[in-house]
């Protein structure tokens, strides 16, 4: 069974069956990662380039490891050490790389829509590893995988996405995915960080009070305050943000039920999440990272399968 798409540009383009297939396949890859030899030969003939025009630790290492665990050949590219600094255009850069017979492109870019633009102009399969403030589909998939693993199901669960909704591609991908899989979604944070018309556009709940949000949800997906994307003052200080929207152990203990804490990383400790909450047993942040590897293996595998047929 193929996915309904040739590229993974965003969760927006996927149908629920695709998401189900990716998560089910990831379950099998998670088993592969427990084996004495954590590697399968499936993508032996595939060459993948990781194009990172923006900084990344987790996502890049995770993709690179996923590719290696599938036996693919990988090439890494970071914009700062390349001819991009000399003024080469995105399309020229990618076409030059593709003429060296590269089959798949994993790309992160600070411009929203950059992978969509590439997908219209090049034959290789593209996986979006985060584009500007648009989408970060593999993060949403690994979040969903972690929720499913922890709670058994996604449908009917209450997920609160908390923090900088306005600048977060993780938030957008998560909202698309969770709605498609039948979860109840709430976005919470200061009014200045939640775009207008969220409720109308995505049919999600909007909450400005942190405690109310935490009392409501089964899972709190806490987002990073993205200072690098904010060019105007949206809250007065990090300290004040922490006082109103920071999650700590004391707050979690005062809730009427035990909720699960997730965070896509990197954590601003002491801002959106205090250390005692980030490292508590309610937090599944490190499991998310582990699951990310299996989910990315599943995406790479599913997008490369039957490749001779496609050509």
């Amino acid at each position: 069974m193929q996915l309904s798409v040739k590229h993974l540009l965003g969760i927006r383009d996927l149908i629920p069956q695709d998401i189900q297939t990716i998560l089910d396949t990831a379950t099998q890859f998670k088993e592969v990662l427990q084996r004495p030899i954590k590697k399968v030969p499936s993508l032996r003939d595939v060459t993948i380039v990781n194009l990172f025009f923006e900084n990344s630790t987790r996502t890049r290492i995770s993709f690179e490891l996923a590719e290696k665990r599938l036996s693919a050949d990988t090439v890494n590219f970071s914009a700062s050490a390349s001819s991009v600094a000399k003024g080469e255009t995105l399309l020229d850069t990618v076409n030059n790389i593709l003429s060296m017979k590269v089959d798949m492109v994993v790309m992160r870019h600070s411009a929203s829509g950059a992978p969509h633009f590439l997908a219209q102009h090049i034959p290789a399969a593209i996986i979006n590893a985060g584009d500007g403030i648009n989408e970060h589909p593999t993060q949403a998939l690994l979040d969903a995988f972690s929720i499913r693993e922890k709670l058994g199901n996604i449908a009917g669960k209450k997920i609160a996405i908390i923090g900088d909704i306005m600048h977060s591609r993780v938030a957008l991908s998560n909202i698309y995915l969770l709605k498609k899989m039948g979860a109840e979604v709430m976005v919470a944070g200061p009014p200045t960080l939640i775009p207008k018309y969220m409720k109308e556009a995505f049919d999600v709940r909007v909450e400005y009070n942190l405690r109310n949000a935490l009392e409501w949800c089964d899972v709190a997906n806490v987002l990073r305050i993205q200072l690098e994307r904010q060019n105007q003052v949206l809250f007065s200080s990090l300290r004040e943000y922490n006082l109103a929207y920071g999650i700590n152990k004391k707050l979690l203990d005062s809730l009427s039920k035990e909720i699960i804490i997730m965070h896509p990383g990197p954590i601003n400790r002491g801002v959106e999440l205090d250390s005692d909450a980030a490292d508590s047993k309610q937090s599944i942040i490190l499991q998310q990272v582990e699951n990310g590897l299996a989910v990315r293996m599943a995406v790479l595998y599913l997008l490369s399968g039957g490749r001779e047929m496609n050509n």
């Binding site: 069974m1 193929q2 297939t21 089910d24 396949t25 379950t27 099998q28 088993e31 592969v32 084996r35 004495p36 030899i37 590697k39 399968v40 030969p41 499936s42 003939d45 595998y301 599913l302 399968g305 039957g306 490749r307 001779e308 047929m309």
Partner: protein, 173 residues
């Protein structure tokens, strides 16, 4: 559709296969059984059940192996994987691989590759319910055969199981 094994014959065949395995692996001392996903599991479940009746005190090491990621036709077709569950070490063990139909031998080739990623067994044997002989594309032969049949390429061997299809039967379609 031509019946190859009816319900009673199928039951006897599985019983015989189980006894033959036990004949060569006394008390299953150092032996593990591994069924191949997805269809080999129906055979291996029943073989293991038989062996358990024959050795009630013994804890049988029984695993399930999926070979999807090791297939040689992955470039032509996308296959969705099944679950692998081998909760024990196969290092220096005698492994009996169990599948329903042996045809080209390509599945077993993939299974051997997959198996070696779990360790280095001292010996691997192959137990097969139906052997479509003279149709091998690789030099692979079974050690235990339920029934060997002659068939042509256009024919298919269908194995029906009670828990899935409502009846036990092997047929040539």
């Amino acid at each position: 559709m031509k019946t190859v094994l009816n319900e009673q014959q199928l039951a006897f065949t599985i019983k015989r296969l189980s006894h033959q395995v036990l004949e060569n692996h006394v008390d299953l001392e150092n032996t593990v059984l591994i069924g191949l996903q997805p269809r080999g599991i129906f055979v291996s479940d029943q073989v293991v059940q038989q062996l358990q009746q024959l050795l009630p005190a013994h804890k049988i090491n029984y695993g399930k192996l999926d070979i999807t990621f090791y297939r040689d036709d992955i470039r032509k077709e996308l296959h969705i994987p099944n679950h692998t569950d081998i909760p024990f070490s196969i290092e220096n063990k005698n492994v009996v691989l169990i599948d329903d139909v042996l045809y080209t031998g390509r599945t077993i080739r993939a299974a051997l590759d997959a198996l070696l990623d779990f360790g280095r067994p001292s010996k691997v044997e192959l137990c097969i319910l139906i052997d479509r002989r003279f149709s091998r594309q690789l030099p692979i032969q079974p050690d235990y055969v339920g029934k060997a049949i002659d068939s042509i390429v256009s024919q298919k061997v269908k194995v029906f199981w009670k828990q899935r299809d409502g009846r036990d039967e092997v047929a040539l379609v």
